[in-house]
Structure formats: C-alpha cells, structure tokens
C-alpha cells in the first residue's frame, strides 16, 4: 500500500503564511517500529500513544467544527489515563493516522468517540500499572498514579513514569471494554470548564483555517456553475478570458472552472467567462411546494411507533384535534464559503479539507477520482462553522478533480453564491397530526404522519464535481435520519407515527443541525400545546400529565422554574394592551427518545399590527448525563438556540424554476445582533451517567417554544416555519 508522508514546516512569507511541504512515499508511514500507524477501532494504539517526553498524543476521526471537542476529548483521556491535560495533544481527522469513528454528526463526538477514547485510555492505564508492578515489585494496590508517574504509596521516591514504561513503544493491546473506569467522584479534569486551546489563535489571526492554507506551486481555482441547476454545458468561449493574466479554463463535461496563479485573476476569470448552457427548469413552483411534496411518490413508510389502537381510541374521543405543520428549506450558511486544497498526481492524492467526515469523504473521492481509496489521504483543517454536510465535501471534490485535470496542486475557494446556491439543503418537511381527547381534555390517541425524503443512510451525498463531470456514480439521496423524534416524547397508550419517505425532493438534500428531530419536535410540541389549549390547561401542567420519565420531568420543571413560569392556560388574557403583545411558550423533548433531555421556554414580543415577532429571552434546562466541559456545553446550547431562533423566525430558501435565488445574505437574511435573544440556562450534571451529545438537542426547542409563545401572546397559531410577519398576521386564530 502506498502511503503519503507529510512533513509540516511553517515559514514566513510577509508576516505568516503557513506553507506545507509534503512528499509521497510508497510503503509504510514512518513509525518508530517501522509499522504503519494502527487505525483499527479495537486497538489501543489506534487511539493514543505515550511519548518518551511524557506527552500523550490522541487520535480521533472526529473533528472540531467549532464545538470544542478539541478540549473535551483530551479531558476525557487525561482524566482516565491520569496525566496532566497540558500533556495531551490531539490529532483529528487525518485518514492515515486516525481511526474512522464516523462523521462528526448527530451529537456523537463525546458520546461515541470520547467514550471509545476513554476506554482505550482505561485499557492503557491498566497495562501501564501492570508494567509498574513488574518494575517496582509491589502489588497494584500499593501503587498510586499522578500526572503520568506511578509511585509506591508508602514510599513515594520509588516511582516510574509512563514515559519510562512505554515511551514511544506500541501497547499492542486490544481495547478492553471491561477495563475499569475511574469513579466519577474522583474526577478532577472531567467536569471542569477548561478553556479551548484554539481561541487565542483565532482571535489573534494565527490559527490556520482551511482558507489560509497554501502549498507550493499551487493554482487558485473558481468553479463556474450552471445558471440553471440541471443545465448542461454546450460551449465555452475561452477568448472571453483575454486580458486576465494567467487565467485559463479547465473543464470536463459540464464541470467548468477557471484556474490562475493569482487568486484575483481566478475570481475575475470566473466572473467574465462566457459559456453556453442548455435550458433547464426542473424545480417545482415555490408557491406550490407543499402540493408538490404531497404528490411526490412514496418509496416506503418508516413506522416510528405503533402501539395500542389509536384509531379505536380516537373513536371514543370527546374531541378531536388536527393540525398540519410545514418547515421551509434551509441552507447551512457557514460564514466562510467552502474551500479545499488537493494535490492529485502520479496515482496519489493528498487532500486538505474541512469536511465533517474525512474518512467517508475519502471513499466518495475514490469514486470521483476513479482511484483506489488506499492512495488517497485527507487531512482535516478547520473551515468556517459546519452544521452538517454543507459545501465542504463538494469544494474538496472540485479541488481534487481540478488537480487531477491540471496535474498541479489546486486550491478551490467557493464564492458566497456558490455556497448559498449549491450546498445541499435541509429538505422541506410536512407533518400532520390527529389526536383524540377525552372529556377531561386528556390525549387518548395520537396519530401522526411525516412527508420527508427517503435516505440511503450509508451513502454519502454525491459530489457536484462527479455529477457535473459525468463521472459514473450510484444514484442515492441521504438527508439523514429525519424520521427520528416523530414519535412523541410522551408514553401515550395509543399512538402511531409513520414517516412517508419520498422518492425525491426538489434539491440535493443533506442534514443541517438537528435534521428531522427539529422539524418533528416542532410539530409534536406545538400540537401538544394545541391540545392543552383545547383542554383549557396550562401547557406545563398538561405535559406533566403524561410524562413518567423522572429525568424528563426534572428538565421540564427546571425550565419552567428558571423562566418563572406563570401557570395558566394560553393565550394570555390579562395585561395585553398596546401594539406589542408578550407571551411565553414551552417545549420539551428527549433527543431521539433515547438520550439528552431538554426543555425550553421562549419569551416573545409580537407586534399585532405588523405581525413581527421577536424572541427576547430563551430559557433552557439541559440534561446530557455526565458533563465533560460545562463551558463547552454552554457554548453549544447558546449556539443551538440562537442559530435556531434565526432559522425559525427568518430563514427560507427561495428559488425560481431553474435555480436558487437566495444567493447572499440580503436574499437569505439571518438573525442580527439587535434581534438575538438572551439565553439563560441550567445544566443538570449527572456525573454517574454516560455522557450524551450536546451539539444538537437544544436546537429542537426554539421552533415550538416560539410558536407556542406567539399563540400565548396574540392567540394565533403559526404552523409554518419561518414565522414571518405575514404568517403571524394571517395565522389561525384560537
């Protein structure tokens, strides 16, 4: 197998360009023992190495896309291994060096990758103590470990360090799932709000982002996308680049780009290039989107839950409640458009990418480049915030194909319009719910349906480069597990929830933070509020009628307490004079009905005349089990809430029959500073429980809590995201 060896050296051009030189070598990656670095998920050496100087390197296939796992994962290992946190350094997302722990998605970095690393550390620690027993001639029960040094408890001068025991040697051990973990009561590193290692560099301009990365002899490229999404390239007028120094066209099929040595020349060339494209108008009319969704053929039905006999229960109901909820198409909207650098030469590919999934992307690029996956190496570098499968993978495929076609290293930087117009989208979803209430207003039957695209869940969304260049590939779509949380988080005796998985959806779909769980929780938690209103009940008290899970009850009560919840039915009747009405709404969910519990209260102000709604404060109670880094958890919850308030109140992708027309921040506005709510939170730490994910769950809360708060304020139900002023004004009255 051929492996690519990278040597990094930093040198200054002007005041600080990171330039990386590298060479491609055949054979094994240089390791002390002359063996390739193990990456199998069952080997301790795949996850960590103890060096001669006492420092520790940990290896993870997950990447820090702004979430803070660059400190949280080292905290977990330092704790379990008993070394100082400052001695642990993390290598992330290098396909040659790190185990494939899955894409960085689904709030699973700490929950899955962190737990794998911790178990490897526990296995390593046990092995090191066994070595120390041999060396010191004392039983393990007489030894204590501190900061990587094993000492005899009664005679502390008798000691041996981890570095002396193993320094730069392989453990050659399988990870033992039964290796004992520390008692959480002894934790001194886990549970601490340790600052992140990368903030200082980000704030002073020395942190190397993907966009800052350069290699010698590199060309700058800009892609030229079709003016209509499905159009084919018919002609290119290369003479239209005349006058732009060094700019030239590279094309394969309908894949078109301009490359140049100067970045500005590539930008100007891409703008100026004249090309002829076939006509195409295959997008559905936006004003008829929901008719289009309902008319799309169903590939299969996924049953999220089916228990009891909801139909019979509804037959006994004193009252029936029905509602339909729709959720707009969203774009990821990273602040920095996607970027990548690739060097594809001599049958080898060395690629730098900000992808959330270097290991998966490597397999996808093997198809795009028509190369053996073993000859491709991807190294992760930070891009701008990644909230799911955005344009990073496509820009990487663009760079890889352009490098292959030019025989030179190529850097591709997408424009703002490329990113907004061409990243895969969060698909449109529609949920319809019916419930039967008894004479007291209690829910006795629940029946819901979701319309959302199907998912080939092991398939990565196809790259644009492969599609446009006409490279043969298996057709597949994957918007993620968007049926999750369609089943309500309440144990109703008679309930059914079915996801109609559609054959197609208007745009290439993918996942955007909290995919499906957000849309389904929006529907479920507005709907239960509608039932509470029909029963004349307080929304918190009404939810507590059904909840039996003590941790669920605890977060719901904590959120209500934090918000000083005023117990009464909605809508509010007292004190609502003047043009601006105030309201509060609650929402609750157990994430995927399997992990992190969250509850939130939104406070809103609604202008009755204009319909403009603003979320002024948002309260969150959050139980993710054991907290690794409380400051990291807080940052993620703030991000979940603020980003989703933006999605809920403002965001909707627009298009005509040929193309996306939301191509910048003016045509796709997001929340600005004056509109941002204050986020107030309470973290419930359960050190004895497993650590669960944090990056997504709280994002389920804003759409329903805000809709419920608008209802509380003005008695209008908003059943369509985003809650624009016209929808608030024209919504259904109570």
């Amino acid at each position: 197998m051929a492996i690519i060896e990278t040597t990094r050296r930093e040198f200054l051009i002007g005041t600080g360009t990171l330039v990386v030189s590298f060479r491609l070598v055949s054979g094994a990656l240089a390791q002390p023992a002359g063996k390739p670095k193990p990456v199998a998920l069952d080997q301790v050496d795949s996850f960590l190495a103890v060096h001669k100087d006492g420092s520790v390197t940990i290896y993870t296939g997950k990447v820090d896309i702004g979430t803070g796992i660059r400190v949280a994962l080292p905290q977990m290992v330092a704790e379990e291994l008993d070394v100082a946190l400052g001695k642990v350094k993390m290598i992330e997302g290098d396909t040659a060096l790190t185990p494939d722990q899955g894409p960085t998605w689904g709030s699973l970095s700490v929950q899955v990758a962190g737990v794998q690393l911790r178990q490897a550390a526990a296995t390593a620690r046990r092995a090191l103590i066994e070595m120390a027993v041999q060396k010191l001639g004392m039983p393990a029960s007489d030894l204590a470990v501190k900061d990587g040094v094993v000492a005899v408890r009664a005679e502390p001068h008798r000691r041996v360090s981890y570095a002396e025991l193993i320094g730069d040697q392989a453990f050659d051990l399988k990870v033992d799932k039964d290796a004992p973990l520390k008692n959480p009561k002894e934790h001194t590193i886990v549970g601490q709000p340790v600052p992140r290692p990368d903030v200082a560099g980000k704030v002073t301009g020395t942190h190397t982002y993907m966009q800052d990365f350069r290699v010698p002899g590199m060309l700058h490229a800009r892609v030229v996308r079709p003016p209509a999404m499905g159009a084919a390239l018919q002609s290119v007028d290369e003479s239209s680049l005349k006058g732009i120094k060094g700019a030239r066209v590279v094309r394969q099929g309908s894949f078109l780009a301009v490359v140049a040595e100067s970045e500005w020349a590539a930008v100007k060339g891409a703008r100026q290039l004249k090309a002829g494209w076939s006509p195409w108008a295959g997008l559905p009319e936006q004003s008829k989107l929901w008719e289009h969704v309902r008319a799309t053929p169903v590939a299969k039905d996924d049953v999220a839950v089916n228990q009891g006999d909801p139909r019979a229960a509804m037959g006994r109901a004193a009252k029936t409640v029905t509602a339909t909820y729709d959720f707009a198409v969203h774009t990821h909207g990273s602040i920095g458009p996607s970027c990548a650098v690739a060097d594809v030469r001599d049958g080898q590919a060395m690629i730098w990418s900000p992808s959330q999934a270097p290991h998966w992307l490597r397999r996808e690029l093997a198809a795009t480049l028509q190369m053996d996956v073993a000859n491709i190496r991807i190294q992760y570098l930070d891009g701008a915030g990644c909230y799911g499968r955005n344009g990073h993978e496509d820009a990487t495929a663009d760079a890889a194909l352009l490098s292959k076609l030019t025989g030179q290293p190529v850097r591709v930087q997408w424009s703002r319009a490329d990113e907004h117009g061409w990243d895969p989208k969060g698909p449109p979803t529609l949920v319809e719910i019916r419930a039967g209430l008894d004479a007291r207003g209690d829910i006795i039957g629940w029946d819901s349906e979701l319309w959302a695209p199907k998912a080939d869940i092991t398939e990565w969304p196809r790259t644009l480069a492969a599609t446009l260049a006409g490279i043969p590939q298996k057709e597949a779509i994957n918007p993620g597990n968007i049926h999750r949380n369609l089943d309500p988080s309440y144990p109703f005796a008679h309930q059914k929830a079915v996801a109609h998985r559609l054959e197609t959806t208007p745009f290439r779909p993918s996942w955007i933070r909290t995919p499906g769980r957000m849309q389904n929780t929006y529907a479920n938690e507005v709907f239960i509020d509608e039932c509470a209103a029909a029963a004349g009940a307080d929304p918190v008290e009404y939810r507590l009628r059904y909840l039996t899970d003590p941790r669920g009850i605890a977060v719901l009560r904590a959120a209500a307490h934090l918000a000083k919840w005023d117990t009464r039915p909605s809508p509010a009747k007292a004190g609502q004079t003047g043009p601006v009405a105030r309201g509060r709404g609650i929402a609750y969910v157990k994430y995927e009905n399997a992990r992190t519990y969250v509850a939130g209260v939104a406070e809103v102000e609604v202008n009755r005349q204009t319909g403009a709604a603003r979320c002024t404060r948002f309260f969150v109670a959050h139980d993710c089990g054991q907290i690794i880094n409380p400051d990291g958890v807080r940052a993620q919850i703030e991000g979940n809430i603020i980003q989703t308030v933006s999605r809920t109140l403002k965001e909707e992708l627009k298009w005509d029959r040929s193309r996306v027309t939301s191509v910048d921040w003016a045509s796709y506005p997001i929340l600005k500073f004056p509109e941002v709510p204050e986020v107030v939170m309470e973290l419930i730490n359960r050190p004895g429980e497993p650590p669960w994910g944090v990056g997504e769950p709280a994002a389920c809360l804003p759409p329903p809590a805000i809709s419920n708060a608008i209802f509380d304020a003005i008695g209008v139900r908003v059943r369509s995201v985003p809650f624009t002023p016209d929808k608030v004004k024209g919504g259904a009255r109570a």
Partner: protein, 155 residues
C-alpha cells in the same frame, strides 16, 4: 506598483489595481486574520482598520486605499493581546471563529471612537452588520463589555 502601509510596515506591490485589499493582505502579505466571507460587504469577516475606521476589505480596491491599514495581526499577539483580543479570549467568545476577525476589528473601532461603558443596546447596534452563524453573539457582547472595562482601566 502599489504602495500600502500595513501594521506599521510599508509594502510596494505588483498587483492589479482593482484587486480587493483582502486578496492583497491574504495572498501577497500572508496576513490571514481578515477572512473572505461574502465578497459583498455583507458579513464583516474581512474587516480591517484604515486610519482607525472599519473597512470591508473584500470590496475595497487596493489602489484606492490611502490610509494606514491595521489588521487583526497588527492589534496584538496571543502572548501580548490587545485588550479587545484579551477580552474575547477570556470570554471564550469564538466557536468556529471565522467571523471573529470582523467582531474584534469592529469592536476596536467602536470602543476607540466613543466614551467608555457602552450599553448593551449600543454594542448590539455597533455589531449589527457583522454576521455570526454559530450563535456566539451573547459571548461576543460580553467580550465587548469586558474589553470596554479593560480599556477604561488601561487609559
């Protein structure tokens, strides 16, 4: 040849006069603090100071820049940060951090052009045309308050 003064140093550059300042800073001078976000002056990621005023370098042709340019790197370093940078570090006011250049530069201009102790409302107004997608706003506002306090003390 075009001459510009950046972070106290003078540079003679052989670049096309219509090149936006951002590309010159990043590609010719290796200053990566300012970021490419939109190329449309909509998001603020590329902000630099020209004679102390915030300028969106992605739309400013280099030939038209007359004043002295200061970039993020010119404010301070991780070892010796400017009070605004120090406040952002202390508040851990970055997630992905891509917008943070703009936040720091806009804040620096804002705090140096007005009396101490800005209100929350004034801070939010001052940053209203700087976009953040990760939802770090609350920490950024806290960092601006902290920076104002640090600069007040240092003055």
């Amino acid at each position: 040849m075009i001459r510009i003064v950046v972070n106290g140093k003078s540079h003679q550059l052989d670049v096309e006069p219509d090149t936006p300042l951002l590309y010159v800073l990043r590609d010719n001078l290796g200053l990566h603090g300012p970021k490419f976000g939109c190329g449309l002056a909509q998001c603020g990621s590329c902000t630099v100071l020209v004679d102390g005023r915030p300028v969106r370098s992605c739309v400013a042709p280099v030939s038209q820049i007359k004043g002295r340019i200061v970039t993020l790197e010119g404010l301070g370093t991780a070892e010796k940060p400017h009070p605004v940078q120090q406040a952002f570090i202390e508040e851990q006011a970055a997630q992905c951090g891509y917008c943070i250049n703009g936040m720091v530069m806009q804040t620096t201009a804002f705090l140096s052009s007005r009396p101490a102790n800005p209100s929350e409302r004034e801070i939010r107004q001052a940053l209203q045309n700087n976009l953040c997608r990760c939802g770090t706003h609350q920490r950024i506002v806290a960092a601006v308050k902290r920076a104002a306090a640090l600069m007040g003390k240092g003055a």
